[in-house]
Subunit: 348 residues, 2 copies
Amino acid sequence: MADVASRAGVSISTVSRALRGLPGVGRQTRERILAIAEEMAYVVSPEASGLSRRATGRVAVVVPRLDSWFSATILAAIEATVRAADLDVMVYQVDGERARARFFHELPTRRKVDAVVLVSLPLLPNEEQRLDLMGVRTVVAGGRLRDLPYVEVDDAEIGRTAVDHLVALGHRRIAMIRTSDTDGARWNSDVNRVRGWSEALAGHGLGPDPRLLVTEQYDVRAGARGIDQLLELDPLPTAVFCYSDDIAVAAQHRLERRGLRVPDDVSLVGVDGNPLTGLFEITTVDQQVPEQGRRAATMALDLLADRTPDDPAQCVESRLVARASTASPPAALLRGGGGQTGPGGTTV
Amino acid sequence: MADVASRAGVSISTVSRALRGLPGVGRQTRERILAIAEEMAYVVSPEASGLSRRATGRVAVVVPRLDSWFSATILAAIEATVRAADLDVMVYQVDGERARARFFHELPTRRKVDAVVLVSLPLLPNEEQRLDLMGVRTVVAGGRLRDLPYVEVDDAEIGRTAVDHLVALGHRRIAMIRTSDTDGARWNSDVNRVRGWSEALAGHGLGPDPRLLVTEQYDVRAGARGIDQLLELDPLPTAVFCYSDDIAVAAQHRLERRGLRVPDDVSLVGVDGNPLTGLFEITTVDQQVPEQGRRAATMALDLLADRTPDDPAQCVESRLVARASTASPPAALLRGGGGQTGPGGTTV
């Protein structure tokens, strides 16, 4: 991109903005940059299509996989919003490195869509570079990538909210079941929820005890395996903050199968707002997934209409939904019978 | 076509061009022809229209709603299969009558896709008529519509499989929780599973007792409400066949909350193959949803390549996955202490 910038006599960030169709670059400058980029075989400029050719009327939604509650729910909201604007939605499942490589290879060279919404896509650094080359207006949902407009939640805040709720109920020994992708990769949402959990515990003078943080690869049984790990500890945690609602659902099932009661013996908090938590009476931090989808789609539509989005860096508020899975810790612990307090912790 | 031409006062070839979206017909003329064709329910041959125009490289997948396990799972399989053939997938959420009307109004008049896969779409008779007007190759997944090629499961067979399994374990009083759409409409899959349940019971000389069939509108709590209805009965059923796995998951949760054990007091069988049943150890009749998606997509790709599908009427085999939620009925009933047997039933 530096080559294009120097040939065009503009800054790299101007090239980047021009290639992605962001405002703030004059029409002539943009066209000159696109021409140079094209000449240098830097990218077959799809942007030219947005400016001088007919729009495709399509928005691409790119998700790691469709058959998860989060992906299906955010896609449903994006589709409804895009459809209401009389445009169509193309979906790309881009799960794993090979699928991502193929996606990045093909999209720029075929003028298939006017805009792209990237949902929770974990990218390698060189893949992030290629985002610029797509040459279409791009919005990120459920995270951030480079300097693209985004809609996200504050995952560290989610972790803090869960811990604050549990501490207010009297818990001092609060575990977390975190997760990783099937290839072991960390998701940003996970890293930030762990950070929120850790910071909030420290803020309350409660450690955290590193043994209380267990990791399980993400699948339908992750929560059950996480509970099995935690039940090895002595003393046991009195509460568990789970990365997601489906982990909390599996954790509750496993606790009950192993003879422990929720919340009498162990309190549980999940994250998402998955309707299953309503059924299972599990406390959750609702991250308003449909609202994230609507806002990301609206932002994409704004970019398509050459409107500057009201706010290209949006954080959807999460909110605690307290249900029957959280209560005060067992009486024995309240009397100090088996609880462990962190360095500066006080026994209730 | 001659009728449309004479009503519109144009040549047959103009009608043909207009219906197929070819150039050379003025916008007003074209709209008038389409209106007349629609009014006369004129049938556009998908083959004729498809052969003579440029392919779009896109397949539409039409689902009632994206945020259900069935829809998300079958869409994931369709997308992967279509993508492997280097084509793209457009998704349409068409939930409710208004959305369907809009879909049927818009699709035929815009050449957006080469083929359509209709997934479990409940259609009114006049909507079924309009399928012909779409003028694209169409495949049905998860059911049948008119004489279109389809992939389905045998839902009556699913009901029989569940009942046979329970009867073999010694159950005689086998309830069913059926379901309806939020507007009260019946789904064919539900009607056929009920038929299978009823026929199998009759075949075993076990009734069925009509009070053992309860209906709940489909949502995350349907299974819980169904259990509440069934627990009013005296004597209680010893087993419950649930329309779907999520209904079985909710039913199991509700039974346990009300102090009954699964399978000691009540056995449960679901339908789908939803991974949640693995977690909750629930017996299910797996309807192989990903396989249904792959086959429907393959059939659509065959039609696009002008290959005749090997079999345009495919039935994917369902299979019983027996887990911990089914066992012999309570000892009291085995001794005849409270069980009810149907007309020709024998007490074990």
